[in-house]
């Protein structure tokens, strides 16, 4: 019943929701994301074993605001996809990196990533590619600065789930994100480094995997059941166009290196609607919402969601209204 509303009344085809297709899309999303999540968990495990706590903190600028800008720079230089970033970001926070700096990097890495810009150029090569790349990068940067400055003003306890700060050990079992998973070494097996590494990888992987599964299910449902032509009538509208772009990005939940190819083909959308889609999507969508929830409390993620989308809308609206 719910998805019947997604059918466009004037559409030539009587579309609907195919549950087997949802299963196919869900399976494809988790298969695509799992290797990157595992890679993130392995890097996180290596950081846990080899990186002394506080070392990165010593490298970072003292002021949180400067740290936020350093994180934005890191987002351009060290590209990372959304799935791989989460275990690493959580580990860095536990190793003493200020949460505002780590969270800014988490948001910036997919959005400012050179690969995303390159794919944007390729996707729009028949429709003014430089304009799209410049708009995408500059608008993303402005939104990220706004978000970074907001993050810098928050206290860690306003941003983090309790277990992200303390990690899971026997003492704080109830706080643990992965409460059934407290690995106690076998007596007589003193493989300290390997045990610590394996424990960290298994906890981080299974901890974030749950949120990837939930996020992928939501993404599969909407990317399969939502009729894209439904947004076509408002795609050229000065005010509603950017909103339509943002809404479509929330529903389709695409990776930042793919999204440009999908939206480049969407002729009913104006340039500002397409830019809204490309700026909002890598920052947050229905899949990322769940992935972020693996590290951050709901209240914080909702705040992030509202601010990211409002800033994207204002910028693209200004572009849309330009004479």
């Amino acid at each position: 019943m719910f998805f019947a509303a997604f059918d466009l009344p004037t559409a030539s085809a009587s579309a609907g929701l195919s549950w087997p297709d949802v299963a196919l899309s869900f399976f494809a999303i988790v298969l695509e994301g799992t290797p990157f999540l595992l890679l993130g968990a392995i890097v996180s495990g290596l950081v846990d074993v080899f990186l002394p706590a506080g070392l990165i903190k010593d490298w970072l600028p003292r002021s949180k605001t400067q740290g936020v800008f350093a994180a934005l720079g890191a987002g351009v230089i060290f590209p990372l996809c959304e799935c791989g970033a989460l275990p690493i970001v959580q580990r860095l926070i536990r190793k003493g990196v200020p949460p505002a700096v780590a969270a800014t990097y988490m948001l910036a890495a997919p959005a400012l990533n050179p690969l995303a810009m390159f794919s944007t150029f390729l996707a729009f090569r028949n429709q003014d590619p430089w304009l799209m790349v410049v708009l995408r990068f500059s608008f993303s940067l402005v939104v990220l600065i706004v978000l970074g400055l907001w993050l810098a003003r928050l206290r860690p306890d306003q941003m983090l789930r309790a277990e992200t700060l303390v990690g899971s050990t026997r003492k704080n079992l109830e706080l643990s994100q992965n409460p059934g998973l407290v690995q106690i070494p076998r007596p007589g097996w003193s493989l300290g480094g390997l045990q610590q590494f394996t424990g960290a990888v298994v906890r981080d992987f299974t901890g974030v995997l749950l949120f990837l599964v939930i996020g992928a299910a939501v993404a599969a449902l909407f990317s399969t059941g939502f009729n894209r032509n439904l947004l076509a009538p408002i795609g050229q509208n000065v005010i509603l166009g950017p909103l339509a772009g943002i809404l479509l990005a929330q529903l389709l939940c695409l990776c930042s290196t793919t999204d440009a190819f999908i939206i480049a083909a969407f002729a009913p959308f104006s340039v500002s609607a397409k830019i809204a889609f490309l700026v909002a999507g890598p920052l947050i969508d229905l899949k990322l919402y769940w992935l972020y929830r693996s590290a951050f409390p709901a209240r914080f993620v909702h705040g992030l969601w509202i601010r990211a989308l409002a800033a994207t809308f204002l910028l693209t609206l200004l572009y849309s209204l330009k004479p």
């Binding site: 030539s12 085809a13 579309a15 195919s18 087997p20 297709d21 299963a23 196919l24 869900f26 399976f27 494809a28 999303i29 298969l31 695509e32 799992t34 290797p35 595992l38 890679l39 392995i42 390729l122 996707a123 090569r125 028949n126 429709q127 079992l173 109830e174 409460p179 059934g180 998973l181 106690i184 070494p185 076998r186 007596p187 097996w189 493989l191 045990q195 394996t198 298994v202 992987f205 299974t206 995997l209 749950l210 599964v213 299910a217 993404a219 599969a220 939502f226 009729n227 894209r228 076509a232 389709l252 695409l254 290196t257 793919t258 190819f261 999908i262 480049a264 083909a265 002729a267 009913p268």
Partner: protein
């Protein structure tokens, strides 16, 4: 008794989940089902990740002590149990239930009107490009093997359209009879099946194959045409023969 069982579940669940994911991923790769799910770039990553997950689950069992695992407290016990089930069941179910091709309803949801010109099409491979050149310069009655996307790419160049218009072509795709007109569809995949987008050419003539929309692979032989409506060229095949065929090794076209 229940406490002991809860401790066993809490110790063995991570290994069970990781080995189940590893096995499902390994099976998906070795059975070739992965070709229906991911673009070629990502397939080797899945294979490596599957093997690492199997190794991790063995390491978990060997390195840690099941008897020392704390007993989960009873109020949270069910939550932990459900958590492991959510990690285990959906992926196993999806691997069993996912069909071989996306259906007609998803085709309608993801299809876009008159936008094919804007999509950068996966181009012809070097080998098939040679075949096409050879076929073009050989007997004009012999059908030229092309992909659906090739006809769309050709429709962007006046010169190439001129060389191809009226030529016999042979191509494979999924048949779509929605909305009173027939189309031959090929899905383009950028990363995975969730972002796949359909590209299609119109079919003119008798397309009654008695097959199911969207999921039946057909081989079409006919004449390539490039009619123009209001300045917009829509590639079309005037059908000579249409017959059900096997799914290609690569069901999706990837750039």
């Amino acid at each position: 008794m229940i406490d002991r069982l809860a401790r066993q579940v809490s110790f063995f669940a991570p290994a069970a989940v990781m080995s189940a994911w590893g096995t499902v991923m390994l099976h998906t790769v070795t059975s070739g089902h992965i070709n229906r799910l991911l673009s070629p770039m990502f397939r080797s990553y899945v294979l490596v990740a599957a093997m690492l997950l199997l190794i991790l689950s063995v390491l978990h069992l060997f390195l840690y002590d099941p008897a020392a695992d704390p007993i989960p407290s009873s109020p949270g016990r069910w939550r932990h149990f459900v958590r492991w089930l959510v990690l285990l069941l959906p992926v196993v179910a999806a691997s069993v239930l996912s069909p071989s091709a996306l259906s007609g309803s998803t085709l309608a949801n993801r299809a876009l009107d008159s936008t094919t010109g804007a999509i950068p099409m996966p181009s012809m491979s070097a080998a098939s490009n040679q075949d096409v050149q050879a076929a073009l310069s050989a007997d004009p009655k012999q059908p030229v093997p092309v992909e659906v996307t090739d006809l769309i790419t050709l429709s962007r160049s006046a010169e190439q359209m001129k060389a191809f218009a009226g030529r016999k072509v042979r191509t494979v795709g999924l048949i779509d009879n929605h909305g009173g007109s027939s189309k031959l569809v090929r899905w383009i995949m950028w990363c995975c099946a969730a972002d796949a987008q359909p590209a299609s050419v119109a079919l003119d003539g008798d397309t009654s194959t008695g097959t199911k929309d969207g999921t039946q692979w057909v081989e079409v032989t006919g004449t390539a045409q490039f009619p123009s409506t209001l300045g917009h060229v829509v590639p079309q095949i005037e059908v000579d023969t249409i017959k059900p065929t096997q799914e290609p090794d690569e069901p999706y076209l990837s750039p």
